[in-house]
């Protein structure tokens, strides 16, 4: 098994005819993901290298049974695209788009609390279950099939850490980028819960960074609900307060959200935290022995 994406994934891509959308759609398909449909308003009947294009997600779902959506539309159209995916009954909506306004995301997040549907992102690199399927923009070469789950707020660090553990001969069940925005649809806790329920994940690496309190919440969740071992990494020890470090969410506000605080919070809950990606990989290797 694995989580989020696998052989049962039937992907529809919103914004499939855009330059970026098309490029990654075809890469995802080349990796083995069942890309069943694309959506671009007004382009129904066309195709992208054989992938049929529909006017609406609902049409795509009715015609192809798509259950997962990847969103590549520009930020000003992305909230509408997310609602369209949810309205069409898509189980998992993966939003790559960066730059969605916070007020839109507050409403979308609240709307999602109705339950029954999952959003990954926005501003996330997607998810990959090595050897099975990938949805998103991750460089697939970095990953190898295995039994370690990875969940991260950062795209590049996901690659870095997966590569370092891969270099030790350890593969991944699923690697998930939840996105670096202040509001994302799936939190660390949501993904950790899914890994905990996955019999084929033996250990989880959680890759955090400064800003917010999701790592602290994850620590409490791990202590209360997880038997699967968890190893942590936090980026941003050198970040000064009040400055946004690239990601909209990576900002230390007042005295909260520091890397030091997060590391301590995780360690207090029994999560071993490595201070470099290399050290994280070493801890993983040792824990799996």
């Amino acid at each position: 098994m694995s989580i989020l994406v696998d052989g049962n994934t039937r992907l529809v891509v919103q914004g499939v005819t855009g330059r970026e959308g098309q490029f990654h759609t075809l890469r995802n398909r080349a990796y083995g993901t069942a890309v069943v449909a694309g959506v671009t308003p007004g382009k129904a009947g066309q195709d992208v290298d054989g992938i049929p294009v529909f006017n609406t997600v609902r049409d795509a779902v009715e015609a192809t049974g798509a259950n997962t959506s990847m969103i590549f539309v520009p930020p000003r159209f992305a909230p509408d695209a997310i609602y369209e995916s949810l309205d069409a009954g898509i189980a998992l909506t993966i939003t790559i788009t960066e730059g969605i306004p916070a007020h839109d995301m507050m409403r979308i997040y609240t709307h999602l609390q109705r339950g029954g549907q999952q959003l990954l992102g926005p501003n996330c690199p997607g998810a990959i279950s090595p050897g099975k399927a990938t949805v998103g923009i991750m460089p697939t070469d970095v990953f190898t099939p295995g039994r370690v789950g990875v969940v991260s707020r950062s795209g590049t660090l996901t690659y870095q850490i997966s590569k370092e553990i891969g270099d030790m001969g350890i593969g991944q069940s699923t690697v998930v980028g939840i996105g670096g925005d202040p509001i994302v649809g799936s939190s660390f806790i949501d993904i950790l819960g899914q890994f905990e329920a996955d019999p084929d994940t033996d250990l989880v690496v959680i890759v955090g960074e400064i800003g917010g309190d999701e790592e602290e919440k994850a620590g409490a969740f791990i202590a209360a609900n997880m038997t699967t071992p968890v190893v942590g990494y936090i980026a941003g020890f050198q970040a000064p307060p009040g400055k946004q470090m690239g990601h909209a969410g990576a900002i230390i506000t007042g005295s909260s959200g520091t890397a030091e605080g997060k590391k301590e919070a995780l360690e207090a809950m029994g999560v071993q935290v490595g201070i470099t990606p290399t050290e994280v990989a070493e801890i993983v290797r040792d824990r799996l022995r």
Binding site: H103, V142, L157, G180, P182, Q244, G246, I275
Partner: protein
């Protein structure tokens, strides 16, 4: 995007929230004219986006236009915590009976707006929250059903607002929330929200932040955007839309993603070095982005060595290498540059550098080794 007090107050007024009448001035002459137009005693307030103006001498009363001229002359050009005062706001002095505190923030932990109200205004609210938590009423709002009269009532009763001022404060809260939604703000803070001797409730200060991602829907607000930093690299980065933060070390750092750059800073520090900056050239870093980033880094005279850390995903390492060579050709830098290339087209990228790069460019195989090398080279150059 943070707004200046005077911009926030003008937006408040447009949303029906009472503020003292005032005018902006960039010269002592303008300050005097504003004081004349307003009449009576005025307050001359430094416009800087940093707290503690009052203690720094940036807020002064002026009983006459001539006094306003003199105070403006003192305050304009003043340095307040690294911010140079370029404008003063001249406003009618208020008769304060009581100072309250009101704010609406986007609470990222709850993923909802958080409204806070206190009868203990005019002071540092973090101190109030710590020492008198019961004096700070806090309430989250459902973003779909919105802020309603009963929310405002609960806050007003629980913040201990004086009975005769309750109606005015309730009204101010409703209007502030409407402004928060309408402006797509991430923060509206009014400290103090005053109750005047003649019974009005007035916003005496205004701290407003607008969501940058929403500015396309608010062209009037987007037009207010200006660089408020005095730092030359931050200004240059701001103009070129590069994500850059100045730090106080001597090792310039650049990478293709916020996470890997933050991690690079940490690894450099662990290796005994001091990073000069955070610079994210972006997830889709191409030759041009690399050149722009390099230009910003090299303009900083403090920088002794560079670490370029690329993990190619969408980014192709061969394109990064080509961009680097082209940029170095143009910029002609001679300081040591350590490059780590991994992921997509890393082999090709490394080959390009090995074949054609000048001698000051060295390639390292891992993030850790690259960091160590950059630290060594910086020390050698000192």
């Amino acid at each position: 995007m943070d707004l200046f007090e005077y911009q926030g107050k003008q937006l408040f007024a447009a949303h029906g929230l009472a503020v003292p009448s005032g005018e902006i001035a960039e010269t002592p002459e303008q300050a005097k004219a504003a004081a004349e137009a307003i009449g009576g005693t005025v307050v001359v307030k430094a416009q800087v986006q940093v707290g503690g103006r009052g203690k720094a001498g940036g807020i002064k009363l002026a009983a006459t236009p001539d006094e306003a001229y003199a105070e403006a002359q003192n305050i304009l050009g003043m340095d307040i915590k690294g911010h140079t005062v370029q404008r003063v706001w001249i406003e009618a002095a208020s008769d304060i009976r009581k100072e309250y505190y009101a704010s609406i923030t986007f609470d990222r932990s709850a993923k909802k707006p958080l409204v806070m109200l206190s009868a203990m205004g005019g002071m540092d609210i973090e101190a109030v929250a710590e020492e008198h938590p019961e004096a700070l009423a806090r309430l989250h709002v459902d973003p779909l059903t919105g802020f309603q009269a009963h929310h405002a009532r609960w806050l007003v009763y629980h913040a201990g607002i004086d009975e005769a001022a309750q109606k005015g404060v309730l009204d101010a809260l409703m209007k502030a929330y409407a402004a928060f939604i309408d402006l797509e703000a991430t923060l509206i803070e009014i400290n103090p929200l005053i109750w005047t001797t003649d019974g009005r409730v007035v916003a005496l200060d205004a701290k407003v932040s607008i969501d940058n991602n929403a500015l396309y829907r608010h062209p009037d607000l987007a037009a207010l955007k200006e660089s408020v930093t005095d730092d030359p690299q931050e200004r240059m980065a701001h103009e070129r839309d590069v994500t850059y933060v100045k730090l106080d070390g001597d090792i310039g750092i650049m990478g293709n993603g916020a996470g890997i750059v933050m991690s690079s800073l940490d690894v450099v520090a662990l290796a005994g070095g001091r990073p000069a900056n955070f610079l994210d050239a972006g997830g889709g870093s191409n030759a041009e982005a690399v050149a722009t980033a390099l230009e910003v880094l090299l303009s900083d005279p403090k920088v002794k060595s560079l670490m370029i850390n690329i993990f190619g995903g969408i980014t192709r390492c061969d394109e990064v290498a080509e961009g680097l060579l082209t940029a170095l050709d143009t910029l002609g830098a001679t300081l040591p540059i350590v490059v780590r290339l991994d992921g997509t087209a890393a082999v090709e990228g490394r080959a390009i550098i090995a074949a054609r790069a000048p001698a000051n460019v060295v390639v390292e195989p891992t993030m850790l080794s690259a960091a160590k090398r950059a630290v060594e080279l910086a020390k050698e150059a000192s």
